[in-house]
């Protein structure tokens, strides 16, 4: 049985590996994570942008949920505390020559 902290670590690592470690490392300054405890599983997210950093209008900070503002490359997964299985919910991956990863969408935390 995993704790939230353990599952979060596993999930984030799985997301990074799905995106490609080299790709994430290359864009370290624009890599972002998100995670939450959902009772029986941890939800984990890693996003990367290779776009120029957006500039807000002067004197404005904006939080946006528009689809166009989603991170261009992102992986979302959940890690079950009991089964320790990873289930990928969304994978928007960088071009193939930027990363080499497996094609599997489910996996075990122990792999």
């Amino acid at each position: 049985m995993l704790t939230y902290a353990e599952a979060k670590k596993i999930g984030i690592r799985a997301c990074v590996e799905k995106l490609g470690r080299k790709f994430v490392e290359k864009h370290k300054g624009s890599s972002c994570t998100s995670y939450g405890d959902c009772g029986t599983y941890a939800s984990c997210f890693v996003g990367v942008s290779d776009r120029p950093r957006r500039k807000f209008p002067a004197g404005v900070i904006q939080l946006s949920s528009e689809k166009k503002d989603k991170l261009p490359y992102r992986v979302e997964c959940v890690v079950n505390y009991k089964t320790e299985r990873i289930h990928f919910l969304e994978c928007v991956l960088p071009p193939a020559d930027s990363v080499c990863d497996s094609e599997s969408l489910t996996g075990s935390a122990k792999v």
């Binding site: 890599s31 998100s34 939800s43 996003g47 807000f56 900070i61 949920s65 503002d69 919910l89 991956l93």
Partner: protein, 162 residues
């Protein structure tokens, strides 16, 4: 080179937020129920888009943002200072901090505690949400779903554990 885009159906995963909370939020969204008196009072203080109001510190709960969003379809944000909570009313797709709030955030008199997303079961912070953290030099914040009440922390990653 095209992107590889694979989306696994989320239907195969039961989003296990509190069922009663999901139902409660849905009832607010579809007009079956109204906000409770306390949340009605909060909304009355910030009726319009870009309105904000100061409250006692730690008097606003993260789930309040979800209910206010479920009621209005608009995003809400919670900012927190040393002695106050500030509730901010955004619009359907964004919260935009200008003027006094912008200045106080930049000066770190306020921190961005949480904001709500209207249409996502699992709230996913946007590129702009992360950029806001960078501008504010704030490591993390929270985002909550007005559909499920699920709350997630999002963070500027300064290094992964390889």
């Amino acid at each position: 080179m095209g992107r590889n885009k694979i989306i696994v159906d989320t239907d195969s995963i039961v989003i296990e937020s509190s069922k009663s909370q999901r139902i409660s939020l849905a009832n607010i969204r579809n007009g079956k129920h109204g906000l409770n008196a306390r949340r009605k009072n909060l909304l009355n203080k910030v009726k319009n888009t870009d309105a904000w109001e100061s409250f006692a510190r730690e008097s606003i709960e993260l789930i309040d943002l979800a209910y206010l969003t479920a009621s209005t379809g608009h995003e809400f944000a919670l900012l927190r200072g040393k002695r106050e909570d500030i509730l901010f009313h955004g619009d359907s797709i964004k919260c935009e901090f200008k003027g006094v709030l912008f200045q106080r955030l930049i000066k770190k008199e306020l921190s961005l505690v949480c904001h709500s997303h209207a249409g996502e079961e699992i709230p996913q912070a946007s590129e702009g949400d992360f950029d806001a953290l960078r501008i504010l030099n704030q490591k993390s914040s929270m985002v909550i779903s007005a559909m499920t009440g699920m709350c997630r922390e999002y963070s500027i990653e300064d290094g992964f554990e390889w």
